[in-house]
C-alpha cells in the first residue's frame, strides 16, 4: 500500500507547485496581498509532500519491498542497511526524487529566511522556484516514477546495487552535489524576479549573494567528494578524468564562481548588473544541462543512468524552455547600461571583471570540449573523443592566469587604485613567491614550466592573501584587536582564496611529481616507487557480506623501516558477478602510497599498480577550505544587522509588513 501513497504525495506536491508558480506571481503583478500571502504556505506544503514521497521510498528500501521495481533493480536483501539507505539515490528515479526534495528544501528555506524581503520579491522568487519544481515534478511523475510496481511477478530478491556505489562516498557525494546544483535555482529565481519587477539594484544583489555562496560551497564539496571517491573507488588512482559527467558538474561551478564575484561588485558598487543577471541565468541553465547530460543517456559513464529517449527529450525541453524564456525576459527587461559609476584601470572592479572573463572562458572551453563530440555524433558527422590533453592544455593556463590575477587583485581598491603603488606593493610578494616556488621545485627535484607556474600561482595567492590580512589587521590597539575587527565575510574570502591555492598546488604537484608503476609481482617481491619500497607479502581469500575477495598483503617501507601495511582487494560480487578493484592507500598529508591489484598473470604472479602521490590530499583539503569559506561568509553579521535595523525601522514607523500577517502582528 505504502508506495501508492508515495505516488499520491508526489502528485499532490505537483499540484501545490503549480499553484505556487501561479498564485503568488499573479498576486504580485495585480497587487493583491492576499494572493501573495499564499507563497509561504504553498512552499511548506510542497516540501511536506515531497518529503512524504521520499520517506515512503526510503521505507521501501529498508524493508526490502521488491514489489517496487526501482527497489528491485537497485537493492538486495544482503545489502547492509546503510547501503540500502543510500541506494535510494543509487539510480535514476530515486536520485531525481532526492534532487526534487532538495529543490523543495531550498524553496522552503527561502520562504523561511525571506522575512525581511519586500513581499512582492518573496512572492515572485517563490513563484519562480515553484515553476522549476513543476518542471521536475512533471518529469518524475510522467517519465520516471520511482513507485512503479513489479506486480504480479514480484522478484524473490533484488538485482543489487552497483558495487561501485556501495561505498561511503556515494552516501554523501550526490546529496552534496545536488544541494549545489539545485541551490543555483535560488540565485536564478532571484534574478528572474528582479527582471520581472525591474528591481535590479544593490539590494537585490545583497539578497541573492548568500544563497549563491551557499550553493557554491555545497557544489565545491560535492565535486571534491566525487573526485575523492573516484580516486579510491574506481581503483586506479586518478582524481579527475575530464569525463563529460565530471565536466557537467564543473561547468556550473565555474560560472557560479564568476557569479559570486560579479554579485560582489553589483552589491558594493552597483555596476555589472546585467552581466550578473545573465550569469545567474547561465549558471542555473548549466545545472540543468548537467542533469540532461547525466540522465538522458547521451553519455555513458559511471554516473549515467539507463538510456531512455523520452527522458532525454523531456529534459532537453525543460532546458530549452528555461533558457529561452529567461533570455527573452532578459532581453526585454535587462536595464540599458547607463551606469555613471566610474572606475580606474587598476580598480578592484577591473580585476573582478578580468576574473569573470577568465572564469567564463574556462566555462566555454570545458563546454566546448564536452559538447563538441556529442553534437558531432548527433549530427552523424563522425565519432570522436576529446581527451584529457585538450583540457589540461587549455584549462591550466586559465587557472594559472586566474591565480596570478587574484594575487594582484587582493590589494586593489574599489573605484581607483594607483598603478605605481600596486606595482610596488607586489614587489615583495613576487620575490617571496619566486623563492618559495624555487625551494618547492628543488625539494621535489625537477623543473618543468607547468610545475613552476602552478606552484608559483598558488604561493603567490597565499602570500598576497596573508599580506593583505596583515595590512588590514594593523591596529593601534594591537594585532589581535585588528584581527577581530575583520568581518566574517572577509575571513570567508581569505579561506576561499587559500583553498584555491591549496587545491592548485596539490593538483600541480601530484600531476608533475606523482609516480605510477605497473609491475609484475609474485609474493616475496619488492618494488620501489619514489623513495618507498613496496613488498608483496602474500595473497589469500576473504569472504565479505556479499562478495568474495582476493586479499593481498603489502608492506610499505621507507629506508628499510615499515611505515604501513596495505590490503588491496579484488572483489567478486555474488549477485551481479561483477569484479571490483579495491585499492588500499596509505594516506598522508605529504603523500599517498597507493597499491591496487590488477589481473592474475600466472598462478603465482599478479599485475600490481603502485603509485606515489605527493600532496594529493591537498586537492580535497583545498575544497574543504573553499566550502568553509563560503559558509563563514554567509554567517557575516551584516546580513543580520540589516535585518534588525529593518525591524527597528518598521517598528518605529509602525508600518505593518503587508501581506504577511504573522510577522506584521509580531512587529507592530
Amino acid at each position: 500500500m505504502y508506495p501508492e501513497f508515495g505516488q499520491i504525495a508526489l502528485i499532490l506536491a505537483l499540484l501545490l507547485a503549480v499553484l505556487l508558480s501561479v498564485v503568488p506571481l499573479v498576486g504580485s503583478l495585480a497587487g493583491r496581498d492576499n494572493l501573495m500571502a499564499f507563497s509561504r504556505p504553498l512552499s511548506s506544503g510542497m516540501f511536506v509532500f515531497v518529503g512524504i514521497a521520499f520517506a515512503v521510498l526510503t521505507h521501501a528500501f529498508l524493508v526490502d519491498d521488491f514489489s517496487v521495481a526501482y527497489v528491485a533493480n537497485n537493492s538486495n536483501s544482503l545489502l547492509p542497511w546503510y547501503y540500502k539507505f543510500s541506494a535510494v539515490w543509487g539510480g535514476h528515479e530515486g536520485s531525481l526524487l532526492l534532487w526534487i526534495l532538495m529543490l523543495a528544501g531550498w524553496t522552503l528555506a527561502v520562504a523561511i529566511f525571506s522575512r525581511r524581503l519586500p513581499d512582492v520579491m518573496t512572492a515572485q522568487v517563490l513563484s519562480v522556484l515553484g515553476m522549476v519544481c513543476v518542471g521536475f515534478l512533471l518529469f518524475i511523475v510522467i517519465t520516471s516514477n520511482p513507485f512503479d510496481r513489479t506486480l504480479p511477478n514480484v522478484p524473490a530478491d533484488g538485482a543489487d546495487l552497483n558495487p561501485l556505489l556501495q561505498d561511503f562516498g556515494l552516501i554523501v557525494h550526490p546529496p552534496m552535489l545536488y544541494m549545489g546544483y539545485v541551490g543555483f535555482a535560488v540565485a536564478f529565481a532571484f534574478a528572474i524576479a528582479a527582471l520581472i519587477n525591474g528591481r535590479l539594484d544593490a539590494a537585490w544583489a545583497r539578497w541573492s549573494r548568500p544563497w549563491t555562496t551557499v550553493a557554491w560551497a555545497f557544489l565545491s564539496l560535492g565535486i571534491a567528494l566525487g573526485s575523492w571517491w573516484a580516486y579510491y573507488e574506481l581503483g586506479w588512482g586518478g582524481w579527475w578524468f575530464w569525463d563529460p559527467v565530471e565536466n557537467a558538474s564543473l561547468l556550473p561551478w565555474l560560472s557560479g564562481t564568476a557569479l559570486m564575484h560579479s554579485l560582489a561588485v553589483t552589491e558594493k558598487r552597483g555596476v555589472f548588473k546585467s552581466w550578473t543577471v545573465l550569469l545567474a541565468i547561465v549558471t542555473f541553465s548549466l545545472s540543468l544541462l548537467g542533469a540532461f547530460l547525466v540522465r538522458s543517456g547521451v553519455l555513458t559513464s559511471v554516473h549515467s543512468f539507463a538510456a531512455d529517449p523520452e527522458r532525454g527529450t523531456f529534459l532537453l525541453g525543460l532546458l530549452a524552455v528555461t533558457v529561452i524564456a529567461s533570455l527573452a525576459l532578459y532581453a526585454f527587461r535587462a536595464p540599458v547600461v547607463h551606469v555613471r559609476s566610474r572606475y580606474g584601470s587598476f580598480s578592484r572592479e577591473v580585476f573582478l571583471l578580468l576574473n569573470n572573463v577568465l572564469l567564463v572562458s574556462a566555462t566555454i572551453l570545458v563546454a566546448v570540449g564536452t559538447l563538441y563530440p556529442l553534437v558531432l555524433d548527433y549530427l552523424e558527422l563522425g565519432m570522436l573523443s576529446i581527451g584529457e590533453p585538450f583540457f589540461n592544455l587549455t584549462f591550466s593556463p586559465l587557472a594559472v592566469a586566474a591565480g596570478l590575477l587574484l594575487g594582484a587583485g587582493i590589494f586593489s581598491r574599489w573605484k581607483k587604485t594607483d598603478g605605481g603603488w600596486l606595482g610596488r606593493k607586489l614587489l615583495w610578494p613576487l620575490a617571496i613567491s619566486t623563492l618559495v616556488t624555487a625551494a618547492v621545485l628543488v625539494g621535489y627535484g625537477g623543473f618543468t614550466t607547468w610545475a613552476f607556474l602552478g606552484v608559483f600561482a598558488s604561493v603567490w595567492v597565499t602570500v598576497a592573501t596573508f599580506w593583505d590580512l596583515w595590512d588590514k589587521s594593523s591596529s593601534r590597539k594591537g594585532r589581535l584587536h585588528g584581527l577581530k575587527r575583520q568581518s566574517r565575510s572577509y575571513y570567508g574570502m581569505v579561506l576561499g582564496h587559500l583553498g584555491l591555492a591549496i587545491t592548485m598546488v596539490g593538483a600541480t604537484v601530484v600531476s608533475n611529481y606523482g609516480i605510477e608503476r605497473d609491475v609484475r609481482m609474485v609474493p616475496g617481491d619488492v618494488a620501489s616507487v619514489g623513495d618507498y619500497q613496496v613488498a608483496f607479502k602474500s595473497i589469500g581469500q576473504r569472504q565479505g557480506p556479499n562478495f568474495t575477495a582476493q586479499y593481498g598483503t603489502f608492506d610499505v617501507l621507507l629506508d628499510g623501516e615499515r611505515v604501513a601495511v596495505l590490503h588491496p582487494e579484488k572483489r567478486q560480487y555474488t549477485v551481479g558477478m561483477s569484479v571490483m578493484t579495491e585499492a588500499d592507500i596509505d594516506a598522508g598529508l605529504s603523500r599517498d602510497i597507493f597499491v591496487a591489484i590488477g589481473e592474475r598473470i600466472t598462478d603465482e604472479a599478479w599485475a600490481i599498480r603502485l603509485q606515489y602521490k605527493p600532496l594529493v590530499r591537498w586537492l580535497w583539503l583545498g575544497s574543504l577550505f573553499m566550502a568553509a569559506g563560503g559558509f563563514l561568509a554567509i554567517a557575516d553579521r551584516r546580513y543580520r544587522i540589516r535585518e534588525r535595523a529593518d525591524q527597528k525601522a518598521e517598528a518605529s514607523t509602525n508600518v505593518p509588513e503587508s501581506g504577511s500577517p504573522t510577522s506584521a502582528g509580531a512587529t507592530s
Binding site: 563522425g382 587549455t394 586559465l398
Partner: protein, 156 residues
C-alpha cells in the same frame, strides 16, 4: 583621447586579446587532441591512419587473449565479426575486460596493422557496451555496402 573612452578602449582591447588567446588555444588543442574512432573493418581495409592516436573498438575475440608470463604485456584481437585487429598493450587491463566483452582501445597503428594501445577501456557495468562498439557491430551486421557508406562519414 577622452579618459573614459581611453579606459573603455583598454578594456575592450583586453577582452579581445583574451578572447583571441582563448580561441587560438582551443583550436590548437582541439586539432591536437581529437581522437577519431575506427572499427576493425575500417582498420583492416587500411582506412585508418598509421602512427596517429586513434580509438579502435569491438568485441574481444574468444580465445585471442595471450598474456606474456614474464611481463605485463597482453595481446588480443578485437572484432566486429567482419574483420579483426590485433592489439598489443602493456599494463593493467580494466576489471571488466574479458573475452566476448566490448572494449575500446586508444593507441597508434604500427606499419603491420597492429594497434599498440596505451589505454584500454571497458565499462564498469556488466551490461555495458561502449556506444562506438555497439554502432560498429550493428554496422558490420548490416553488410559490406552499408559499412562502406558510413565509413565515409566517419573518416570525413
Amino acid at each position: 583621447m577622452h579618459p573614459i573612452r581611453k579606459k573603455r578602449l583598454t578594456i575592450v582591447l583586453f577582452l579581445l586579446v583574451g578572447l583571441a588567446i582563448a580561441v587560438g588555444l582551443t583550436t590548437y588543442a582541439l586539432r591536437q587532441n581529437i581522437n577519431l574512432f575506427y572499427d576493425p573493418s575500417q582498420i583492416s581495409a587500411g582506412e585508418a591512419p598509421v602512427d596517429v592516436r586513434i580509438r579502435a573498438g569491438g568485441m574481444v575475440e574468444e580465445g585471442s587473449v595471450r598474456r606474456d608470463p614474464d611481463s605485463l604485456k597482453v595481446e588480443f584481437r578485437v572484432t566486429d565479426f567482419n574483420a579483426s585487429v590485433p592489439i598489443e598493450y602493456i599494463g593493467i587491463l580494466p576489471d571488466l575486460f574479458a573475452e566476448g566483452q566490448g572494449v575500446v582501445a586508444m593507441g597508434r597503428l604500427d606499419g603491420n596493422g597492429r594497434l599498440v594501445a596505451d589505454q584500454v577501456l571497458a565499462k564498469h557495468d556488466e551490461n555495458y557496451m561502449p556506444p562506438e562498439v555497439a554502432a560498429a557491430l550493428e554496422k558490420a551486421s548490416k553488410g559490406q555496402h552499408k559499412a562502406g557508406d558510413s565509413a565515409e562519414t566517419v573518416s570525413y
